[in-house]
């Protein structure tokens, strides 16, 4: 029996590492075929399984807790003012 085709293998024939596969999955860069392959792989690979949940949690935390600031209204006014002055001049 031949092992299932690994859709992560690149044109240069280099076999990807677990972490390389995981990163593509995590960042939504994997194709449907790659996602399916990884799902099967993760069931048998403890490091992938653990790292995936950790990395996904960190990603969620970053999205929830960081970069929620709102630009100050006076900054927006300042920018609009500068633009209109440039137009006039």
């Amino acid at each position: 029996m031949t092992p299932p085709h690994n859709p992560f293998i690149l044109a240069d024939g280099k076999k990807p590492t677990c972490m390389e596969m995981l990163q593509l999955i995590l960042d939504g860069e994997a194709t449907a075929e790659q996602q399916h392959y990884f799902k099967v792989h993760m069931d048998k690979c403890m490091p992938c399984f653990k790292t995936y949940s950790l990395d996904a949690t960190i990603k969620e935390l970053l999205q929830d807790k960081c970069c929620k600031d709102v630009a100050p209204a006076e900054l927006i006014e300042q920018i609009k003012l500068q633009i209109s002055q440039n137009q006039a001049g």
């Binding site: 972490m19 950790l54 970069c67 929620k68 630009a71 633009i83």
Partner: protein, 197 residues
């Protein structure tokens, strides 16, 4: 690889429409990105303002309906490098050659922070995550912001940062490893006993 920038011809009205409808809606993302780069509120305001003024001035090299957010991020990133980074005494500590070697080496599969657990992360309030992110070198911080916070695709990141996609991937990998190291330090000081499962 570099696209040929075709200059558009816009009327004053069109310019203003693009500015108001395609550029200004991204101001909060731009403000957050600026702050994560400079870590200073006043510098952030200057940087964002400069970026928008440049965007208006060069609006004819922007093609209506294309990715305005990526275009603006690229301008902001370049302004930061050219105008603000110079001001800081410290040169970049990142050795990209080293990053590439690291990424391509065999021990990439080795767990870097086996002691960081999902449960201890869940108890962290925003400050720890935010401080951990801010503590990273600006180049590492940037890829995490672009990817995880702003949701840019690798290809868009490559364009914003003017680096190949392979470098985007390796830098992102290294950045996450460093962030995890920081977070596991915080987890330890928070009193968690992170013993192996």
């Amino acid at each position: 690889m570099e696209e040929i920038v075709t200059r558009q011809h816009y009327s004053e009205q069109e310019k203003n429409d693009i500015f108001n409808n395609e550029f200004l809606p991204h101001i909060n993302s731009m403000y957050n990105f600026g702050f994560r780069l400079t870590l200073d509120r006043d510098d952030t305001k200057d940087l964002v303002q400069d970026t928008y003024l440049k965007a208006y001035r060069f609006v004819e090299s922007f093609q209506k309906g294309t990715n305005a957010k990526a275009w603006l991020f690229r301008i902001l990133k370049n302004s930061f490098i050219n105008d603000y980074r110079k001001k800081t005494k410290e040169p970049s500590k990142v050795d990209y050659q080293e990053v590439e070697t690291y990424y391509n080496s065999e021990d990439v599969n080795r767990q870097i922070t086996p002691d960081l657990r999902v449960e201890s992360l869940k108890d962290m309030i925003g400050d720890e995550i935010s401080n951990a992110l801010n503590s990273l070198d600006v180049d590492f911080r940037t890829v995490i912001i672009l990817c995880d916070l702003e949701g840019f695709k690798y290809e868009e990141m490559a364009k914003i940062l003017d680096i190949p996609i392979g470098t985007v991937r390796s830098r992102l990998h290294r950045a996450r490893a460093l962030l995890k190291e920081k977070l596991s330090e915080y987890a330890k000081t928070m009193g968690y006993k992170n013993t192996e499962l």
